[in-house]
Amino acid sequence: MSLALSTQIINLLAAILLLIAFAMISQRRILSLINLFALQGFILTMSTGVVAYSTAQHHLYYSAGLTLLLKVLVLPWLLHRLIRKLKIKWDVETLINIPTTMLAGIVLVIFSFDLAAPISQLSDSVTRGLIGIALASVLLSLLMMLTRRKAVSQVVGFLSLENGLFFAATSATHGMPLVVELGIALDVLVATFIFGIFFFQIRETFDSLDISHMETLKDD
């Protein structure tokens, strides 16, 4: 076989990332959503590790560790705590039904691969399609944010969007400088805190986390 084992593993992990993005779209329960997010972080850690090993770029080990710490442990823990405090268990309502969303997702995948095709040809460090997968998972996260009613699932969408970007960065360019990564990580952490505070405020104002209530703000 022509491809090296590490490339195959990265391909497989990329596919699993996409699979998780689709699982997130088709998931109704908020708890499972957070668990899926943690799993996504874990896959990301693994792929970063594999890239680090195969290209012998040691700073990537640090970013893998950072990912593990932040995205697999801290953020899910924070989110779990958040929903425990907010006493929400599930997110039953989606704006569009799930198969339709998934169909839109498939269209997005084709679109992003189409978009990524010229970029992938420029870069020789990756197998074709990794950028496409990264782009697709970014778009899918956006799609999830679009179709959900409850604010918490939108935050998860935002975070997984960042995961997609991170994957693009590691697999395509073998990672950003560590300083940038640290900065982004800090940003994400802070954003989560801010979102958390927002949630409490939203709930105090509307007695609900359903963002469709925010439409009433306009009339005031």
Binding site: M1, Q8, N11, L19, F22, M102, I106, G132
Partner: protein, 319 residues
């Protein structure tokens, strides 16, 4: 030489068919036993399906007054189809002579044939539950069947063949390669397996609550030997599906025709894999909750789309 090969092939073929038919109720028994254990019950034991079959065969068949010949012949068709399916799938050995007669598309066709007949038989008596079961069964299948086909396509694109033996050979005997598209296909296949075998999130194999039944509603009017054949066919179907899963995703250790030395190893490997798969199935059924019937299309739609996505990924990643 050719004749010897053919004869060997036929012997292997017969061995496999008989073995599968004999073992299928055991697998069902094992899944039931595991479920019982997981639910803190003692369980009826591994051999319970055999005892049930024997008891049913002994009884006198009761037929509804207006049952047509179609109703009576369906259990035999069902059994024949499932046996045929078991003969196509490489379970203990690849390159069985019969597998050339039908590829994966025909395999999906065999399942469809059996399904259409059982649905028709369910409507034959004209009871309310019969037609309800038939309608639901067809609802489940119209999404599960193309999804299964797409899973097969994902693997045939890799192996450049729709013949199961060649697919298995590609996966088991060539250099180890990871296929991203199979990640999608395997998840989709698992969902299809649950749905097609009337397993828990879609249907409950042990339910007798009328309104939730799918498969059981269709076979309500069967009794005695007819019911026995239907039940046996259902076990065979579960066995066949699990074997397909093994063949597509964990084919390692399978023997080739004529290779007697590899045969014991192949059988041991098969038994281990089946044991694990049965236990896994029971575990899944224990942790999942049954869905409402109108959630089922969503579940299967997801499976179908995942399988399609697997195909797409194959094209996109070029792997």
């Amino acid at each position: 030489m050719d004749h010897i090969n053919l004869a060997l092939g036929i012997i292997f073929q017969l061995c496999q068919s008989l073995l599968v038919v004999a073992l299928a109720p055991l697998l069902t028994g094992w899944v039931g036993q595991c479920r019982a254990w997981l639910q803190n019950r003692t369980g009826p034991g591994l051999l319970q399906p055999y005892r049930t079959l024997h008891k049913l065969f002994l009884k006198d068949a009761l037929l509804a007054d207006n049952a047509s010949p179609l109703f009576r012949v369906t259990p035999y068709i069902l059994f024949g189809c499932m046996w045929l399916a078991a003969a196509i799938i490489p379970i203990i050995a690849i390159d069985l002579p019969f597998s050339q007669a039908a590829d994966v598309i025909a395999l999906v066709g065999v399942f469809a044939l059996a399904r259409v007949f059982i649905a028709l038989a369910a409507m034959d008596i004209g009871t309310s539950f019969g037609s309800m079961g038939a309608r639901r069964e067809m609802l489940v299948s119209f999404l599960a069947e193309p999804a299964l086909l797409m899973v097969f396509f994902a693997s045939s694109l890799i192996s450049h063949s729709t013949q199961l033996p060649h697919i298995v050979e590609t996966f088991s005997h060539h250099a180890f390669v990871l296929y991203p598209s199979l990640a999608f296909a395997s998840i989709a296949f698992l969902m299809i397996l649950l749905a097609e075998n009337a397993r828990i999130p879609v249907d409950n194999p042990s339910t007798h609550l009328e309104l939730t039944m799918i498969h059981e509603a269709m076979i309500l009017e069967y009794s005695a030997r007819h019911l026995a054949l239907v039940e046996w066919a259902v076990s065979l179907k579960l066995f066949a599906y699990i074997s397909i899963g093994i063949a597509l995703f964990f084919p390692y250790g399978i023997a080739e025709v004529g290779n007697w030395g590899a045969l014991p190893l192949a059988i041991v490997a098969l038994l281990l894999k089946l044991t694990a798969a049965g236990a896994g199935l029971a575990g899944l059924e224990t942790i999942l909750a049954k869905m409402r019937i109108f959630r089922v299309p969503e579940f299967l739609g997801t499976a179908f789309l995942l399988a399609v996505l697997g195909l797409l990924i194959h094209f996109l990643l070029g792997a």
